[in-house]
Symmetry: C2
Subunit: 500 residues, 2 copies
Amino acid sequence: MADRYQPLVRYFQKLSRIEHAITFLQWDHMVMMPPRGSEARSKALAELSATYHRRLVSDELGELLQEVEDKTDNPERIASIREMKKVYSRAVCLSSDLVEAKTIAGARCEYQWRQQRNDNDWDGFAGNFREVVKLCREEAQARFARNPDNFATPYDTLLDLHCTGDDSGFIQAVFTRLKRDLPGILEQVLERQRETKRPNLAGEYPVAQQQQLNKNLMLSLGFDFESGRLDVSAHPFSTGCRGDQRITTRYRENDFFDSLLATAHETGHASYENGLPRQYDGLPVGGARNLCLHESQSLLFEKQLLLTRPFLEFFLPVIHRCLPATSHLSAETLWLGATRVAPSLIRVEADEATYPFHVIIRFEIERDLINQQIEIDDIPELWDEKMRRYLGISTGSNFKDGCMQDMHWTDGSFGYFPSYTMGAINSAQFSAAIRLAHPDWQEQLAGGNLDFIRRWLLENIWSVGSTIESQEILQKATGQKTNPDFFLDHLKTRYLDCGY
Amino acid sequence: MADRYQPLVRYFQKLSRIEHAITFLQWDHMVMMPPRGSEARSKALAELSATYHRRLVSDELGELLQEVEDKTDNPERIASIREMKKVYSRAVCLSSDLVEAKTIAGARCEYQWRQQRNDNDWDGFAGNFREVVKLCREEAQARFARNPDNFATPYDTLLDLHCTGDDSGFIQAVFTRLKRDLPGILEQVLERQRETKRPNLAGEYPVAQQQQLNKNLMLSLGFDFESGRLDVSAHPFSTGCRGDQRITTRYRENDFFDSLLATAHETGHASYENGLPRQYDGLPVGGARNLCLHESQSLLFEKQLLLTRPFLEFFLPVIHRCLPATSHLSAETLWLGATRVAPSLIRVEADEATYPFHVIIRFEIERDLINQQIEIDDIPELWDEKMRRYLGISTGSNFKDGCMQDMHWTDGSFGYFPSYTMGAINSAQFSAAIRLAHPDWQEQLAGGNLDFIRRWLLENIWSVGSTIESQEILQKATGQKTNPDFFLDHLKTRYLDCGY
Ligand SMILES: [Zn+2]
Ligand SMILES: [Zn+2]
């Protein structure tokens, strides 16, 4: 009997080569391309995406998937076929008309948003956004109709694209705990920090020097420059493939620490990708599990490694060497400067203690919007009301620093936001497990030794790929599912007990 | 009646988008990619090339081309269809087995050549090279069999891929003139230069300073950084698409002029590409005509613009500003240093007066090799004999600086070499026409004004694309076909009369 699995493997490997092309052409677009290259690049990317989509939804693949024997007793193969079917069925349940309409509406809404946000023009934005929401509701309905048993609500089908495996009920339960316990902690932290002045880390830090510093940080965090690059872009991001992980950061002449944090963050994302199981290269089962885990890796590198006192002690001489203007700064000063907490309007500038509320607001609004519990016109008031309730500040009619501040919704990326806070919780939970297994973790970090951490992550998360579901990964690695207590404990230790 | 031309236009535009992806992924491979990215990249490029080839030789395209009415009285459309048919017929006349075998044999031969050349290992090289030549002869025979009326010899079919429109008989006639008249000129030049010492341009020139200098040169030559980039690679090259022309150069800490020449050269290539007719974007008729013209543009920028006394006078202050270590150098010293002539073994290091002989040797040998007049084992002796006859130096058994020095043959790129010297002649011929039309050209260059040159090139060459044949372009622009007299006159003026 012919093996019906191997043709599938070859099919997906070929698909992954088109994906490779799209990945690096997009990277080039963001990082290298001169402005006038944009017309030809957009057309090339559209052609490749269409080729990719056409091959993914082809009858040929559908038949291969139907014929394959998934009742084998080889668990690896069962997992691989399960993930293949997931990718295929996510793609076929949408008509190409809907996909195209969403692409066009999303691109227009995002493009005009840049100016509209600037102008605080909510009405103008709402005009375009209405079409995006309409199409995303259609998308959610179509996905829901195809798999009514798998999803609790239409919104869950969009959530599943980003937070695969963590449904809206589970996330709601986690967030409810945060809403209950975080305000009290936050109040104490603010009270506590009122006693001390924020240290001033500003200075003149030439970009070339910062570049050197950031590369050194990546080396210290275990990044391999034979398998990746560091470049500059307006918004830090990471992308690539095995052996070629590319991250970006941005530099400000008067602030070096922000860019260090961004670089540590993206190094975490890149480390996950480079640690994925080699034997499944090109197959869905070899991909990162979901964004809640992806973000847990980046936040672990950013908040649980770089931003600890022992690691900063270790890294301080490198900072002094690369940036002579920092010679008067101690590790403790850096730590104090980078761990200030203050409620504010803008999510991307929020500290780790207030960030969850920014996410919860978005989660609650987008869920109800997609599930047709609320309408677009309700958003500004809901936003203001939730901001006042959770963070004690009002946005009023300052839409540009309120409900218009993020890009995510403009092109219809609903279901993405929860991963930020799920990732923060997961990262605290993983760190707790690692520290429990390595009680000398502070000495290790102070000596610049992070191998034990990378090994733990490789074994428990990276090399697992998508062979099991996300909460199984949490369970196996930490003994329980995503549990906000770890995150709350982390905040208490760092901000109230002044530990690490 | 339905228009049968538009579907063809759309078909080729789609093909050009796959080409776009290949172009920029290859650029990235050469310029940006970390070493470990190479495995995934090679697979992605192979997949894209296969996709491109499959779509190009498809029955669908064959039928579209058969059905299209090319007896229209619209000359633009006639030209466009002619070029489409040329691209298609070049691709379909080879079996995919032959294409694949050639790719594999070429890759192996090129890869091992790097070490074999180092080891002066002719026998080892000949082993791999035999397979490459065998397959290229098959290729030439297959192309010849399909179009026996269009080509004089099998070699002409390979020549046609690079020097499209300039056949081996025509090139032979041009080269015969050079073989007759160049030796006498060369002898006089050497005699004349014996009187003077070569000025020493060596010094310490930091790469960052050189980078700034090279960018300034590109700006002076009319390069638009909104439509392109300058980067670094082991061997300078240029590639890209409309609006995104990317050139590379290389830097040596002790020599700045070589990298300037390379940058001017590649700026010429990029200017041609960016000047191609916009209305034919994505269509074969909108492409550069052939390499004899492409190389004429690069050599014109390198030898007829940068390397003239008036331009160097204009540019000297920029050199002094960017490279303080050059402050003692005058424009005349630079010019004298960069216009030294001396027969030598290595083509890529040859001056413009001896370069043609390096090309003639290769042309005569590769032609006879593909047409089965000689065999691989004859090459070393022929090389030595021709080097002695044309340049008065013997290679003997120094194969690595003799017949093993170039990469071109290793992967079967026969028919490429002649374009270097045809390009040099064309560039002298175009310059003569421009100078005749602008008798004040030296004052213009001394003022840094090159607009009149770019305008002439745009009108006469760049914007013509492939709408007419190469020698028609020469005829229209200069009143005659490629004529070596212009090149010989250029050498006499520059090296004997000590003009410009
Ligand atoms: Zn992230
Ligand atoms: Zn060239």
